[in-house]
Symmetry: C2
Subunit: 444 residues, 2 copies
């Protein structure tokens, strides 16, 4: 063969191989899973206001993770009041039981919150409380607060003893690093399968001065009411009594964190703490019947709702953020049953992942929910698109319009039961292969 | 560049492309999913006994599927009695409502069961009953039975009108094809996402003659109590009253089909019919207090349990068959809550898929179940391997032994709550990528 012919042949071979490579690319996985959830806020972690009387520090204790911060300490100034809400799981972790007990006591003074990621200190028998006590007493000694004012949380793997010595070894370093400005680092230090840190804030002019609220959360899987696998810490400088704050927190939680579900699984470690340093120049916040109380409640709820939504947006493997609104139920409780049945249905969630407007599965979920429903009064819409009404597909509905709607990142599913005045809204995400991948191999 | 150099360059290019192609092959999907569930009975569809007075026929009506049978007709001889059980979904499909109404009437005579796959005739408004009536009246006319003795079921997509004319067009062909020997073809004709047909039988010597029971089921996804997306048809030649048969069927269902879950989603179409032709030479079967009644009940339950297990073994994407046994609960109801919470937990099911002995997730599921539990009395074992006891990991447990156990195809998870005498057992499968694939794109 001549050199020219050989060259020609080689070039044909190149074209052929290029073609094969291209064909192969079409069947190969599109790309490695993104590091950050596609639903993460596009603007990144928000700029949060500094809350007078709150300082943060983080450290790398190597509890489980290497090469990252995994312990966070928050110092709350003298005079702070603290309220909270916790998982109702019957197998609550030791730190949860400890926090609940401490919040129940009317202790005052400064306070400290210490959180580790990587190990949940859950189902660790008597060793669980031993670890909590070991950490709490050392924190109390080093930080100069009563042991009853040290609140700890742990998040991560269940059933392994917490290597609390590794955390205690970092306490001096944590104390030295305290700063009012490092809330973003604190939010990052408590992440487990989270793909982004979650922060939210509110700030408003009240009588006599500005009131500021800033907080952060972690949570991604094992998310379902009550409370989800979630740790949430919110700080405010408002002058508010512990009693009023607790009442507001309990109400807020029911309208925010108890309204989200990623996978219907409830954690043993869910904890939410809200601390008020009472350092704002603004006048004392009244209870929920007062104007100042209402205003503060509104701001607090907006922060909690923002964080709750961010948890869903970081749902393991999530590619869609879904609001499920149910109206026309016999009661609010019935509406909630229907909304949760839809939001937790693997068949609904996989259809959403596939951008399939499979409203039949919504009918199925309504039917299984246990709420009273009448097939012939039921209507369903995707956003503004009426899909089904009076027990059947709507005359104006087309699969094309439904399919086009499902391509959006944020979806709204409306279900009206046509029976009474009961309503509910919950937020969830879709169920994808990535969820399986994350959870089939979490520990290894 | 010289010809030689160009050739050399081209050859280097070829090698580079070949390398790329090879690398790409490594990341490409390993292979197409298997056609048949890996958990399918290795022996294939069983040889079922002929039941005197029962004949089967199948046809391809093209309701949705092409190139396969999708309609099945069963003729039951004069004198047959029929019992049933149905989904309790509030959005039950038209054929379900129709069957329930007909079973409630004390009609006698021959009977016909007609089933189609591909379209569930569910949530089709008034058109649903119109289709059922159209089919029933034509079947009654052609087969010479009362319309009140024609029982129909439909399984498949929800919300699309059933093209009943396509089914009616095949009725003469179905009648002509009737045979007592073609039960296996009937089992295959009603499959949707099933990967194998499911049959089971029992046969025993009773006083005066042999009693035979043979039946089949379909079901793969949308499987949860009550009843799962399941169609089940069981036939016997036993002489038994409708009342006794119904009592036995209701009890059996609670111990078999209501004890399985694939994905916690409950269908709008679940139907089970048991027909007795009363043609056996054996003496009349008494009620459940009699010896003959107990014997028959036992045989019937064994057939139902076998079919129920096969449905789980064909769970969409299943690679593991899991029995969850709960003991030591305050009540049976509490035990059931715990067993179902474990069996339905996406985190437990994905861990099983990953062969990860992640017993912490079982603790989580116990905690969220709503049943009373005491962390420090809880014990968990995988088969005979004690994993956790008294609120913590068992001293003798090793991750290696747990991991080795999880590699088995059939798994047993035991949970003892250490509180009382309540027990429950349920069967489920794991949750894999394949489930997502099947369900993210079922309709297209």
């Amino acid at each position: 063969m001549s050199g020219k012919k050989k060259l020609k042949k080689a070039r044909r071979k190149i074209e052929k191989l290029k073609g094969k490579l291209k064909a192969r690319a079409d069947v190969a996985p599109a790309k490695k899973p993104t590091i950050v959830s596609p639903l993460a806020p596009k603007s990144g972690f928000p700029k949060l206001p500094t809350i007078d009387g709150v300082r943060f520090a983080t450290a790398s204790a190597g509890v489980k993770y290497k090469d990252r911060t995994d312990v966070m300490l928050v110092e709350l100034a003298e005079g702070s009041v603290i309220a909270g809400a916790f998982t109702r799981s019957a197998t609550r972790a030791a730190p949860v039981l400890d926090c609940e007990a401490k919040l129940g006591r009317a202790a005052t003074g400064g306070a400290v919150i210490l959180v580790n990621a990587g190990n949940a200190n859950a189902f660790t028998g008597q060793a669980g409380q031993t670890s909590v006590d070991a950490i709490s007493s050392e924190v109390a000694r080093i930080m100069g607060v009563g042991q009853g004012r040290v609140f700890t949380s742990s998040t991560g793997v269940i059933g392994q003893p917490l290597p609390h010595d590794r955390i205690i070894a970092r306490l001096d370093e944590l104390k030295a690093a305290l700063s009012p400005e490092t809330i973003a680092s604190a939010a990052a230090a408590i992440m487990t399968t989270d793909t982004f840190p979650k922060g939210a804030a509110a700030e408003y002019e009240a009588e006599g001065g500005v009131i500021r609220i800033a907080g952060f959360a972690k949570g991604s899987g094992m998310i379902a009411p009550d409370m989800a696998t979630m740790l949430v810490y919110i700080f405010t400088d408002a002058k508010i009594s512990q009693k009023t704050l607790q009442a507001m927190v309990s109400k807020c939680v029911d309208r925010t964190f108890n309204r989200i579900t990623v996978d219907s699984d409830t954690s043993t470690s869910d904890s939410l703490l809200v601390a008020a340093t009472r350092r704002s120049a603004a006048a004392e916040v009244g209870d929920m019947r007062s104007a100042s109380g209402k205003r503060f409640y509104e701001a607090l709820e907006s922060v909690m709702l923002d964080l709750a939504h961010q948890v869903v947006r970081d749902g393991e493997g999530a590619t869609k953020f879904v609001e499920v609104r149910v109206t026309g139920a016999d009661t609010d409780a019935d509406a909630n049953k229907v909304a949760m049945a839809i939001a937790n249905s693997p068949l609904v969630k996989t259809a959403i992942a596939g951008e399939d407007p499979n409203w039949g599965r919504i009918v199925m979920a309504v039917g299984k929910s246990g709420a009273r429903a009448d097939r012939d009064r039921l209507s369903i819409s995707f956003g503004d698109i009426v899909v089904a009404e009076k027990g059947w597909v709507s005359p104006g509905y087309t699969e094309e319009s439904g399919a086009a709607y499902m391509k959006q990142e944020d979806l709204l599913i409306n279900v009206d039961l046509g029976l009474g005045g009961g309503t509910a809204v919950v937020w969830t995400c879709d169920l994808t292969n990535r969820y399986i991948e994350i959870n089939a191999d979490y520990r290894s």
